[in-house]
């Protein structure tokens, strides 16, 4: 019977195509659509702020250089992930990330909570030549970042595009985007105060690459790395204990302690 039915539909191309579309649509609709409607999918985090223009520009450098190919930004709910990298990642932490950079491969370590773990100067040295600070590293060196000045004239357009797709940038933030980018990397300038006014006191003002005469891509990338994991405190509150890795019974039982595993 079923075979007879199939003999029929394989006589009409349009009918066959419609059957393919029907069969192929079900899974995606059932798994994706509810992620937009079920409230529990993304946690509440009232303290969450969007990236500053400089951090956003740094994020774009991170994408441009393909950092996501070797670094994840998603700490799993596994004990060893949590012990190594910090509290597991929550959905809300990437809610303003267009696109998300969760990654799929750790040739290098996870970066979801890298912010504040190393000094600016360490990042600059590491990005310029990783083997100067980590001799066994296989990370590429990025010496051109500190030599390339950052394009800021279009940062307002970047923020406006993000506003259009739901990131809570105000019109004031958009209007001041280029100035704020400059101010965040020039602590002594007149523009610095505006950054914390618009993005909160926690926003870091620093001469990220150590040079205050020019705004470079290195400034932007370091500003981005230093903010990772610090946009909200939600992950440090009200989260359940991580799961044991499946082979944990072989291992010494003991309380999960944060070690210098990195």
């Amino acid at each position: 019977m079923a075979e007879l039915f199939h003999r029929k539909i394989e006589r009409t191309a349009i009918g066959f195509v419609l059957a393919i579309i029907a069969a192929a649509s079900v899974g995606g609709i059932i798994e994706i659509a509810p992620l937009f409607t079920i409230d529990e999918t993304v946690e509440e985090a009232p303290d969450m702020r969007p990236y500053t223009p400089l951090e956003l520009a740094g994020r774009n450098v991170y994408m441009r250089e393909g950092c996501y190919a070797c670094h994840s930004q998603m700490i799993r709910t596994l004990r060893d992930d949590v012990d190594r990298y910090g509290p597991y990642s929550l959905a809300v932490e990437s809610r303003y990330d267009h696109p998300m950079l969760w990654g799929s491969k750790r040739t290098g370590p996870d970066l979801a909570r890298i912010g504040g773990k190393y000094s600016d100067i360490w990042h600059v040295a590491h990005l310029t030549n990783p083997r100067d600070v980590v001799p066994q590293s296989n990370m590429p060196s990025y010496p051109w970042l500190a030599r390339t000045s950052l394009r800021t004239d279009d940062l307002g357009l970047h923020l406006a595009a993000q506003q259009l797709i739901g990131v809570p940038y105000t019109d004031e933030m958009i209007a001041n985007a280029a100035r704020d980018a400059l101010g965040q990397a020039l602590p002594d300038s007149d523009y610095a105060a505006g950054v914390q006014e618009r993005y909160g006191d926690e926003a870091q003002i620093s001469a990220f690459d150590g040079v205050t005469t020019e705004l470079t891509e290195m400034d932007a990338l370091v500003a981005y790395l230093q903010v990772l994991g610090t946009l909200t405190d939600a992950a440090y509150e009200n989260t359940v204990a991580p799961e044991e890795a499946p082979n944990a019974e072989d291992l010494a039982a003991g309380p999960a302690t944060t070690s210098g595993g990195r």
């Binding site: 079900v26 060893d80 296989n138 590429p140 060196s141 799961e243």
Partner: protein, 554 residues
């Protein structure tokens, strides 16, 4: 060759289309003059103006006899498609070997932006998946749909538009990465204007394919075409949904996807896993269902298994993407659904692999003697192995070990080298002599050499990555007796170096095989044509004398 089959009117039509593309390029070049977008605009402009100049120079060359068209197949675009596919294969595999070497010897990027791993890696994946695989799929689908429908392609210009337009997309993608243009969505990195262009090309492909099938002289649509149709239709859906984005401005190449965070992750891996399903599986199963029985001269083992596996793959695969997100911030219920369907996927996958292998019953002596058929047999075996591995890795606790490690990379390459590339080489070696009306490939010995280079290269690669992935995963989760992590991340990286060198060697052998293949194909094309009688059988009106090979056994 390109224009000899076109009438004067068709040549003029082609010039108009190329002029329209040139105008788009000009618009991009002007709007993006302060941005890498302008460079791409200039590329498009220069490329299409060169095409116009070429067409104008041939405008008055002899016209074809239009009345003979219905009784002849249209094979020129297929020939160019195979050449492009092999060129992309060498390019993509070379870049792959290079980036593999960079992981072992990082100074190989020579402190140059476009040579660094992060920019070259998508050039490798796009080069092999879309350049090599995509061109092979377009070329073989044009061949298979004509032969199984016994009808000529339903268009003179559109096959060229699809083929050249698709290669323009690949070119914009790869040059974009080198300039630093990427959406950073894996396997969907090209920016908005390239994505839009691909939609235009793909809709043309879809219409051309359906119209050709509508011309068929057989009542039923052959199973290979089911897969090619699923490939074309579903890839369109995936591509459009995953790439919805807002450009910074019409003068910027950079854009921001409309999806964010957890929803973006789910959409991305719904896309990513089904790019595996409908690009790297369905399309190549279409190839297998035609060229394997053809070469073995045996009918497909079971029609019912074909139906079961086709609809199983079409339905189950679309649920499986969330297994890329185990233990992440994706809700648990979606992870569980993804795992469940990934395991069920094993049934239709093994139905396909089994159907292919059982088709070889009665032809095992040919598998032994004929490296071309052996390519396809080993491909079916790797298809079975890597789909089993895929279901296994999708089980949550297994995934806790394998995820983020080289095991995933090994799994992907077991599929991409062992299945996709081997079935493609087997199909191309079947197709090239018949397409160029030659008796056989220039050298059977070189096909044999290619086979062993490819097989040994794949095995070295996959074993290296299995080892490194499992070592890495175990080191990350090992605790000391006092309950602290036993190894730093750096310890696990240092342990990887020997495997990274081994994988570079495996990839290099595989690349070498592809170069041997190119030489062999080139020499076959250069040889003088075989006697006309072999060519006569390959016409739409000729019943395939022994053509029962592609009709299923009951």
């Amino acid at each position: 060759m390109m224009v000899s089959q076109l009438t004067r009117g068709e040549r003029q039509g082609s010039i108009l289309i190329a002029a329209a593309v040139a105008l788009c390029g000009l618009a991009l070049a002007i709007a993006g003059r302060n941005d890498p977008l302008g460079v791409h605009g200039a590329f498009v402009l220069v490329g299409s103006v060169a095409l116009i100049a070429f067409l104008l120079s041939r405008l008055d060359s002899p016209e074809p006899d239009v009345s003979r068209r219905p009784s002849e197949y249209y094979d020129d675009p297929i020939k160019v498609g195979i050449a492009l596919s092999m060129i992309w294969a060498v390019f993509g595999m070379f870049v792959g070997v290079w980036v593999a070497a960079e992981l072992a010897w990082p100074s190989l990027n020579f402190n140059t932006a476009w040579l660094s791993f992060g920019r070259l890696r998508p050039a490798h994946t796009t080069g092999v998946i879309f350049g090599f695989g995509g061109n092979a799929l377009i070329a073989t689908s044009f061949h298979v749909v004509q032969r199984t429908s016994r009808a000529r392609l339903a268009g003179q210009i559109s096959p060229w538009f699809v083929l050249l337009g698709y290669n323009l997309f690949c070119f914009l993608a790869v040059t974009g990465y080198l300039m630093g243009l990427t959406q950073s969505k894996e396997y969907a990195e090209p920016e908005w204007y390239a994505d839009l262009w691909l939609v235009v090309v793909w809709v043309t492909y879809f219409v051309l394919y359906l119209r050709t099938i509508a011309r068929r002289k057989e009542p039923h649509i052959y199973v290979a075409n089911w897969y090619f149709m699923a490939f074309i239709v579903v890839v369109a859906i995936l591509h459009i949904v995953n790439n919805l984005a807002i450009p910074v401005s019409l003068g910027h190449a950079w854009s921001y996807p409309i999806w964010s965070g957890v929803q973006d992750a789910m959409v991305q891996w719904w896309y990513g896993h089904n790019a595996v399903a409908f690009f790297l599986t369905a399309g190549f199963l279409g190839m297998m269902y035609y060229y394997l029985p053809k070469r073995a001269e045996r009918p497909i083992f079971s029609y019912r298994l074909s139906i079961l596996s086709f609809w199983g793959i079409t339905f189950f695969y679309m649920w499986a993407g969330s297994h890329h997100l185990h233990y992440t911030a994706l809700p648990h219920w979606v992870q569980t659904l993804g795992m469940t369907f990934s395991i069920m996927l094993l049934v239709p996958s093994w139905a396909s692999a089994g159907n292919a292998i059982l088709t070889l019953n009665g032809a095992w002596h040919k598998v032994r003697d004929d490296a071309t058929l052996r390519f396809m047999f080993v491909a079916a075996v790797f298809y079975g192995l890597s789909t089993f591995e895929g279901s296994f890795l999708a089980i949550r606790p297994v995934n806790s070990l394998s995820h983020y490690t080289d095991w995933t990379v090994g799994h992907v390459h077991a599929g991409a080298l062992g299945w996709v590339a081997l079935i493609t080489f087997g199909s191309i070696y079947t197709l090239v002599p018949s397409l160029w009306k030659r008796e056989r490939m220039y050298s059977a010995a070189l096909v044999e050499v290619h086979f062993w280079l490819a097989l040994i290269g794949t095995l070295i690669y996959v074993f290296a990555m299995w080892n490194s992935g499992i070592v890495q995963g175990l080191m990350w989760r090992t605790y000391t007796e006092s309950g602290t992590l036993a190894y730093s991340f750096l310890d696990s990286l240092v342990a990887m170096y020997p495997y990274y060198i081994a994988r570079t060697l495996g990839g290099f052998l595989f690349l070498l095989g592809a170069i041997v293949g190119c030489y062999n194909i080139w020499m076959t094309v250069r040889a003088s044509p075989a006697a006309a009688e072999t060519a006569l059988k390959d016409l739409p009106d000729a019943r395939w004398a022994e053509g029962t090979a592609t009709t299923p056994a009951e």
